[in-house]
Amino acid sequence: MDASNYLYISALLFTIGAVGVVVRRNAIVVFMCIELMLNAANLSFVTFSRINGDLDGQVMAFFTMVVAACEVVVGLAIIVTIYRSRRSASVDDASLLKR
């Protein structure tokens, strides 16, 4: 088995996450799919760190985790605010600007 097999898994997970962002309508599930994409990128960072033999990739993955945590905190706060005013967490309902 080659270390690059992890990269294939990473690509698959990233693609699945991207489909989820487009297809699902519940804002929270969309958010979880974004998290999945970030994690897929992290996996390839870690794998490349192993392939290249230095720890820089792992440091990058560490930073990604911190930024993802920030993003979750702010994003979920936005979802709660939207839910409070519109009683819905569906991304299709927040289309006021269209009309």
Binding site: N5, V23, L36
Partner: protein, 263 residues
């Protein structure tokens, strides 16, 4: 001599076994995330994928990141997701019908194209050398190596990221804060409202639920002296959810009152 057939870049056999069991499981769980209807099930599958990724990290000599993955993702982030799900409503399940016509086929085609491109790209890419492995970089320990990098080369990004974290926490507090539009009623005001209201019927508090001696539980309305159920006695949430039982089942005329002799 016991030779560990571990070429650099070639992963050892136990790792291959682990990979071929957990890898497909991760992909299946991720696909399940897309297909399940309820957001809570999505969240649980997500946590499952996160744990598998943590195992992958640990298998790839990134012990620190593996532990952080479990602590931060399956611990804090998924916890936050579930918390928001509780707040927004657990049963707010997605209707999986598409609203934009033709979106799903387009999305799936694009995904197959993108995924195929990535996979074929990875298949064709060559480094010109094998993977190096982290034995040398991790010689002083993974955590020590990471700390060395983090506090020397990457100290500026580290500080920036820490300020980002603080800003995010403040932003979430500002977003979640709600201004009170009316003053909070005082004890005195509440008491006046209770006794000067439309009727004195509930002034002494609402009746408790349950048909006594037959079904003394919160989901059955109490009976008034004339035999009619007191709707007030059941919690409004229970009756809104339709979890209120019919009191008639416990009516005295329905019940077998014959005392059976015990042996």
């Amino acid at each position: 001599m016991l030779q560990l057939a571990l070429e650099v870049g070639q992963t050892a056999k136990p790792e291959a076994v682990m990979f071929w069991i957990l890898g497909p499981l991760a992909v299946v769980a991720a696909l399940g995330m897309l297909l399940v209807k309820k957001a809570v099930h999505s969240a649980i599958l997500m946590a499952f994928v996160m744990i598998i990724l943590a195992i992958f990290y640990i298998a790839q000599d990134a012990a620190f990141l593996g532990i952080v993955q479990i602590v931060v993702y399956t611990g804090a982030v998924m916890m936050l997701f579930l918390f928001i799900l509780m707040l927004v409503g657990v049963d707010s399940s997605d209707s999986l019908t598409e609203t934009i016509r033709g979106l799903r086929p387009i999305a799936i085609t694009a995904a197959v194209g993108f995924g195929g491109l990535m996979v074929s790209l990875l298949g064709h890419a060559t480094l010109g050398r094998g993977a190096v492995g982290l034995t040398q970089a991790n010689a002083d320990g993974n955590v020590q190596g990471l700390a060395q990098l983090l506090f020397s080369t990457y100290v500026w990004p580290f500080e920036v990221v820490s300020s980002l974290l603080i800003t995010a926490a403040l932003g979430a507090m500002v977003l979640a804060h709600q201004q009170r539009t009316s003053t909070r009623p005082t004890q005195r005001q509440l008491s006046i409202n209770r006794f000067r209201g439309d009727s004195l019927g509930t002034a002494a508090g609402l009746p408790g639920p349950g048909v006594y001696a037959r079904h003394n539980a919160v989901d059955v309305p109490a009976l008034l002296p004339d035999g009619t159920p007191a709707a007030d006695s059941v919690n409004a949430t229970l009756s809104a959810r339709g979890d209120m039982l019919d009191y008639k089942k416990f009516d005295l005329s329905e019940v077998n009152t014959k005392v059976e002799e015990e042996k």
